[in-house]
């Protein structure tokens, strides 16, 4: 682009010069403290104003879907852990539901309840990281560490339950691998009590802090039309004002037995669909998860945790099925193709962060560089899920 500079010369005459200027192409490269993983954002800016954003992904591609063609049905469960490594149980849940629906297997009641408890605990853990790193992008270092302190409690419970702290391998086709430990309900309830006291603390420290509100309200507004066009789901869609949640609108497992609300953005501090709304949706979802956990623990029955009639070597009859479940980032979909054998023919994963991320190309132009960082943070992407 070129601009014309107009001035006065030494002799008092008017002078016009053509200034050649161009947009600055800058890489928020694969290694960057603010891009939540190995993501490359090619940003074209004019000073502080962004004129174009292109997201380059694929740095974390590990061929998980291709590997599925060489693995057993049960063995591939451990690969699903590695998609969204901040909320692996939700990934496991989706795959387990997909294969169980194809097999027509009934999962025992106790296993269903424990699954829901684990999934909601994992949702809280994932949102804690989302909130903490969002604050970190804004420059608030402390809430991140407070969120990690709470997440540590969740990870301790899951460690006592499954043996792993981040990648669990606990879900199995037809139930769980083994039963919960004695004292599981007591630990979970103790944690939920603590969590419900800490959320107001985060609110005071971060949510209603004027500087934080100034940085996030009216910033990165993703309206409903854009969400629908890009296929955004999860807190991004709910932040735009739509109370759509797979747990209520397309229930799986035993979610239809529990009472909980779906928080959605109302433009409380700015416009509907801004970063603050998405952030607040996540905060309120943590409350709702606590509610679900309490109800699930109250209703936890005894009994087996594995489906009795399932062989060790699972053989799924021919057919294909798309199942969607609600992960902390949005709607995770598993499109499973079976050919009757003991290995999947194809497992295609529809990851929520993949669709959510590309909104930035539409919403990016026109905002400042700091706002770009805020918006990418509020989308809460995980590269493991995007690249698989």
């Amino acid at each position: 682009m070129s601009e014309t500079a107009i001035g006065r010369g030494w002799g008092g005459q008017d002078v016009r010069r053509e200034l050649h200027s161009e947009l600055l192409e800058i890489n928020m490269g694969p290694q960057h403290p603010a891009t939540h993983g190995v993501l490359r954002l090619l940003v074209r800016t004019d000073g502080e104003i962004v004129h174009g954003v292109t997201a380059h992904i694929g740095y974390l591609h590990r061929c998980a879907e291709k590997i599925a063609e060489g693995c057993d049905w049960r063995q591939w469960m451990v690969y699903t852990d590695r998609f969204d490594y901040l909320a692996p149980i939700n990934m496991n849940f989706g795959y387990a539901v997909a294969v169980e629906r194809m097999l027509g297997v009934r999962v025992p009641e106790r296993a269903e309840h424990i699954r829901v408890i684990c999934a909601e605990l994992q949702r809280i853990a994932s949102h804690l990281i989302a909130i903490g790193t969002f604050g970190l992008d804004m420059g608030a270092w402390t809430p991140l560490l407070y969120c990690f302190r709470e997440r540590e409690e969740i990870l301790n419970i899951l460690e006592r339950l499954t043996g792993g702290r981040m990648l669990y391998n606990y879900f199995d086709i037809g139930g769980l691998r083994f039963d919960a430990y004695d004292g599981f309900e007591r630990d979970v309830l103790a944690f939920v009590n603590i969590m419900e006291q800490k959320i107001p603390e985060y609110d005071t420290l971060l949510s209603y802090n004027k500087i934080f509100i100034e940085r996030t309200a009216d910033v990165g507004v993703i309206d409903l039309a854009t969400c629908l066009a890009y296929g955004c789901t999860g807190p991004v869609l709910r932040g735009a004002g739509v109370p759509f949640d797979c747990r209520k609108d397309d229930p799986y497992s035993i979610y239809d037995r529990f009472e909980f609300d779906i928080p959605y953005g109302e433009g409380e501090q700015g416009t509907v669909g801004d970063c603050w709304d998405r952030y607040m949706v996540r905060m309120r979802e943590m409350y709702e998860s606590c509610r679900i956990i309490r109800q699930a623990v109250d209703a936890l029955p005894g009994g087996p945790v594995k489906a009795e009639d399932l062989k060790k070597l699972v053989k799924v009859p021919q057919g294909s099925l798309y199942t969607r479940t609600e992960s902390s980032k949005g709607e995770i979909g598993y499109h499973v193709f079976a050919d009757g054998g003991s290995k999947p023919f194809r497992t295609k994963v529809r990851s929520p962060s993949f669709s959510n991320l590309h909104v930035i190309e539409k919403v990016g132009p026109g905002m400042m560089l700091s706002d770009l960082v805020a918006t990418v943070g509020s989308l809460d992407i995980v590269l493991g899920e995007i690249d698989r």
Binding site: P33, A34, G139, A140, W141, T142, I211, E214, M368, S370
Partner: protein, 349 residues
Amino acid sequence: MQVMTDLFARVFGDGLSPLGLLIAGGLTMALIMALVMASCAIVFTWAERKVAGFIQSRYGPMRVGRWHGVLQPVADMVKILGKEDIVPQDADKPLFLLAPFVIFVGSLMAWAAIPFAPGFIAADLDLGLFYIFAVSSAATIGILMAGWASNNKWSLYGAARGAAQAVSYEIPLALACIPVVMITGSLNMNDIVIAQQGGIWRWHFLHDPFLFVAFLLYFVASIAEVNRGPFDLPETESELVAGYHTEYTGMRFAFFFLAEYANLFLVSCIATAVFLGGWQPLFGPVFLPGLVFVIKAVLLVLLQMWLRWTLPRLRVDQLMHVCWKVMVPLALVCVLGAGIWMLATGQAG
């Protein structure tokens, strides 16, 4: 410097001419100020990490040095000295090499007019306060040099933001000190401190409400001036990696680091001298003036650290908005209000 020249006069008797005394005293004071700057960096890096740690429910450095990692800064210094000195390939070499020194010198020069104790001031200038604000602006050039010469677009962003911020926030900084100058009738730092004698109620920040607001304005502007806390956009670790000093390693980086913590202590010392009574004690006669001064300045530094670890940072246009649309008008109102207060209470002469 008076203390130093007297000391040399006593030691050498008539052996040194007045010029010799002046030079000897001056050099010693300069050395002491440089040592003070270096020890600031050492003490305050440790303090910052510990404060940050305890605020965040963790310990901070614990292992180096027996007690709570007190030798951690020493270990950091040794590590920094052992690093490879990298100059980026297409960097503008003279500017790249000069930038850390410009920033360091800009900070060191301002230390000359800080009154630590009666007589213990490197240069007892009649223009003391004015001189401090004038020379600390030199650091802005250093920031621009560092960002431009690094041949790195992110450093350039940091430098542009840093220069804009530093230049803008000098205005509320200076305006907030004007009421104090009006009351004291002098720009000399010693006079300003001496005018606050007589206990805490005579200190300038409690003189009238306008001066209290001026003190708060000065405090906030000083945080912005040293690129800290909620105003650390030039070196946002989550956006620009490290801003204008991304490409610096080793001892050059240590100079930036040193200058940042020295600046932190410097603006706290100025606030102490101008608003909080300098070396005057809370009540009673003057007792251990140097220690009193340092304690007050350290408390302000800890307050700045507390603010940094609590608040998120402001975006660059919000920063400018706060400066030009909030702080400058408020500072002008304070100047006006302080003047009217003086007239009303009959202090104007």
